[in-house]
């Protein structure tokens, strides 16, 4: 028997590797959205931000030769979009849901338009860390070839936890998101906090986008995102607005997303599209299961409203 053939063990390995790769953009986008929502606003436009970040990251990496510079520019592009959202929503009687949806269209459109010349060229990708160096089994090496951004994402989840619970600014952000009356009575600059929180969310979503174009799948195309930006909003609700939960939820979704390709990898080709739909089915199931009138969310920001 070929020593590199590990039979059915390849499946969990492929799912693990896939989960790590697929979950990374989820981690960034959902934690970004979490920060925004904790301030009392919803930014549905992160799907557009994600695409813009993917395009900007790829373009700058291609032009400068430095993928990390690409990641930074993706973040900055996302931040600019977050600023736009934050600013527009600060105008009286402007609805953040509607602005978010229009930003999805604007962001994707802008990314497609500016990204036309980027479909052909090859930009330098983000390096990954070969954690599987100790093994001679190629599947193990492939699964443990982990991008550095994944670890940044894990650190980010814990950092945001500490920020929200153990820093004065974190408590201020939660106050603004939970009770505008309280925030005003304490003299907090409500609009400024919300704009900054939306910018931070945009920054992270932009980085999530750059992971798509610079690591996995690793090139710029118009079909790059498959709704990760929208699903991240559902993830935040599923995670009950807690950052460490969001990390876990992202990994779960990443694993579900990796199911189809992993099965294909070991030769199961039937029901390919069905397995690929796993994350969406999971989204639906989780939303139905976790949204109930009987159990309100203790951590849900009180100022989150569909209309204002």
């Amino acid at each position: 028997m070929d020593p590199t053939s590990i039979g059915w063990l390849a499946l969990p390995l492929a799912i693990l590797g896939g989960a790590i790769r697929v979950s990374t953009p989820f981690i960034f986008v959902s934690i970004g959205e979490l920060i925004t929502e904790k301030s009392g606003r919803i930014n549905l436009g992160l799907e557009g931000t994600l695409m813009l970040g993917a395009m900007a990251g790829y373009a700058i990496s291609y032009l400068s030769g430095s993928p990390w510079l690409g990641v930074l520019s993706a973040g900055l592009a996302g931040m600019a979009f977050g600023f736009l959202h934050g600013l527009l929503c600060s105008v009286k009687r402007v609805n953040d849901t509607a602005i978010g949806i229009s930003l999805i269209v604007l962001g994707t459109g802008l990314a497609f338009f500016l990204g036309k010349p980027l479909i052909e060229p090859k930009a330098p990708p983000l390096p990954s860390i070969a954690l599987g160096f100790w093994s001679s089994v190629p599947q193990v090496r492939a699964a443990l070839d982990v991008n550095a951004l994944f670890f940044v994402g894990i650190a980010l989840a814990f950092a945001v936890y500490v920020f929200l619970n153990r820093t004065g600014w974190g408590l201020m952000l939660r106050t603004v998101g939970d009770s505008e009356d309280a925030a005003r009575a304490l003299g907090f600059p409500v609009l400024r906090v919300r704009i900054i929180a939306t910018m931070a969310g945009g920054f992270l979503a932009g980085i999530g986008g750059s992971f798509l174009s610079l690591s996995y799948p690793g090139s710029w195309s118009e079909g790059l995102s498959s709704g990760q930006g929208i699903m991240a909003v559902a993830l935040v609700i599923f995670a009950r607005w807690r950052s460490v939960n969001a990390l876990g939820a992202s990994l779960l979704f990443g694993g579900a997303g990796a199911l189809g390709p992993a099965l294909q990898g070991i030769g199961v080709t039937g029901y390919y599209y069905l397995f690929n739909a796993a994350p969406y089915i999971l989204t639906l199931a989780i939303m139905v299961a976790s949204t109930s009138r009987a159990a309100p969310f203790a951590d849900a920001p009180g100022e989150l409203k569909l209309h204002r």
Binding site: G168, L171, S179, D181, A294, A295, A298
Partner: protein, 504 residues
């Protein structure tokens, strides 16, 4: 830091064409409680909001210890030691009391070590007369505890002038005595001055030194509480001599027929936990049964279950037949209601006055012809009701949201009480209404009772309740824990039951 003497001088504030404050002056002597009396819209909130830096007066100024200050934001008020406890609490519900204390500090700490922070907070709050748990989420505190936590926050921040906006509206009489008693003793000890916004005369009499009465933005009466009678205060408040309107109309003993019968009612609250537990009660024709209780003890869930807005188990019967709150049953059994906050709970604010007046019968002849509305009949009905109940509105087609609170209430009274009412369910019907609208509501409720209707009145205002009802039930933690006829009612005993204590 000694307690400063705060003085507001010739304050005037306009909102557009509306004169909210008209040359009002107010002196809060150091170490005293100064009561502010006035109806809704008299300018009490506007005045104190100027004092905490929310509003900027168009004319006039604020002096602290004789020195003039300009307050541009709540932070400026902070710096002067002026703080306010709002009627709608401004604690952050999802955070713990300790987190709320920390976030309200003048300077936000960069990093918080909760262990040492909790120890420090426990140390500081131990010296205060109020005890509140520090590591419990505010959303899990009772209204009384929230009130205390708000005051603890203000004292923790070293406030020297405390503004209390209707502080006892959510408290049991015993809690109210405790909270105001402590505030009073802190002022006597020279550690604090306080402004007490209230509409309860007995509270003002017991806990305030001075009183100022506002009416339509002007200060109409001011002086030491001891020098003013209740009648004088009431007259100053509404601008005309008052006759006690609410009287127990000579009542016949209640008839024997039971109209409302509830047995073994169980209802869950929003949090999925039981809010009403095995509750049974009966209301007979021609009697008003009052349910006393502190807000949040299941009254809301009881009313919602009764009106068919909430799932329940147990039986509810009206005049002997099962009642589930369907439109057909409402009309057939004559069940009508006066909910609290009528604009929100009994009206559709963007529809017109005439349409709102027709919500009970728009689907019946003569207001409809087949599937078409008869707008002529609708306008005719509206005209009749508006005249009969003296509803003041710009026009019949004006949207409901343009009416004042009192007129919204009159419209709802007109709509509900001109039906064939056999059971009236009134839930905090005067919450937030002015003096005149309150009196009118009381009068109409008593009239409905005298007309033979059974009335279930749920109110958090014990004085209001005792003035109206024939029988009092006390609700605590989802159960009826005490029952007494109006003649035998003792406020202190009821208060103890409200607080969940067994009567001594």
């Amino acid at each position: 830091m000694s307690v400063p003497q705060v003085e507001l001088k010739n304050m005037t504030k306009r909102f557009g064409a509306n004169l909210a404050l008209n040359n009002v002056s107010l002196l809060i002597r150091s170490g005293t409680v100064h009561a502010l009396l006035g109806e809704n819209g008299a300018g009490k909130s506007t005045l104190v909001k100027c004092l905490v830096g929310f509003y900027h007066p168009d004319e006039g100024h604020i002096q602290v210890d004789g020195r003039e200050h300009r307050l541009n934001s709540p932070k400026d008020a902070d710096a002067l030691g002026i703080g306010m406890v709002y009627q709608h609490f401004t604690l952050v519900p999802s955070m713990t009391v300790a987190q709320n204390l920390v976030v309200s500090g003048a300077r936000l700490p960069a990093y918080i070590n909760w262990q040492s922070e909790l120890r420090r907070l426990a140390e500081v709050t131990k010296k205060l007369p109020f005890h509140v748990p520090l590591d419990v989420r505010v959303s899990q505190l009772s209204a009384g505890e929230k009130q205390k936590a708000e005051i603890v926050k203000q004292l923790y921040l070293g406030r020297k002038l405390l503004i209390l906006d209707e502080p006892t509206s959510v408290l049991t009489p015993a809690e109210a005595d405790e909270v105001l008693g402590h505030v009073r003793s802190l002022t006597r000890a020279g550690e604090l001055s306080a402004i007490l916004i209230s509409h309860k005369f007995h509270e003002v009499r017991r806990f305030a030194d001075d009183v100022t009465v506002l009416r339509r933005g002007a200060s109409v009466r001011t002086g030491a509480v001891a020098d003013l009678t209740d009648d004088a205060l009431a007259e100053a408040m509404i601008g005309e001599p008052v006759s006690k309107i609410v009287q127990h109309a000579p009542k016949s003993p209640p008839k024997s027929d039971i109209i409302l019968s509830i047995s073994d009612l169980r209802v869950n609250g929003d949090n999925g936990l039981p809010a009403v537990k095995d509750l049974s009660l009966e209301v007979r024709a021609g009697e008003i049964v009052g349910i006393a209780g502190v807000s949040g003890n299941g009254q809301l869930e009881l009313v919602e279950a009764l009106m068919g807005q909430r799932d329940r188990s147990g039986t509810i019967a009206v005049s002997g037949s099962s009642f589930n709150g369907t439109r057909l049953e409402i009309a057939r059994l004559g069940v009508y209601g006066l909910p609290q906050e009528p604009l929100k709970n009994a009206c559709i604010d963007r529809m017109s006055l005439a349409e709102n007046l027709a919500l009970r019968n728009f689907d019946r002849v003569p207001l409809c012809r087949g599937i078409a509305m008869n707008y002529g009949a609708l306008a005719e009905q509206a005209e009749r009701l508006v005249a009969q109940f003296r509803v003041k509105a710009p026009s019949l087609t004006a949207s409901m949201s343009t009416l004042s609170g009192g007129n919204v209430q009159r419209a709802v009274l007109a709509r509900e009480l001109t039906q064939d009412v056999r059971l009236l369910v009134a839930s905090n019907p005067t919450f937030g209404l002015d003096f005149v609208a309150c009196e009118e509501t009381y009068r109409r409720i008593v009239e409905a009772r005298n007309g033979g209707a059974a009335v279930l009145l749920i109110s958090e205002d014990l004085d209001e309740l005792l003035g109206l009802v024939d029988r009092v039930l006390v609700m605590s933690a989802g159960r009826i824990v005490h029952e007494v006829s109006a003649e035998g009612a003792d406020k202190r005993v009821i208060g103890k039951y409200m607080a969940g204590m067994k009567a001594a």
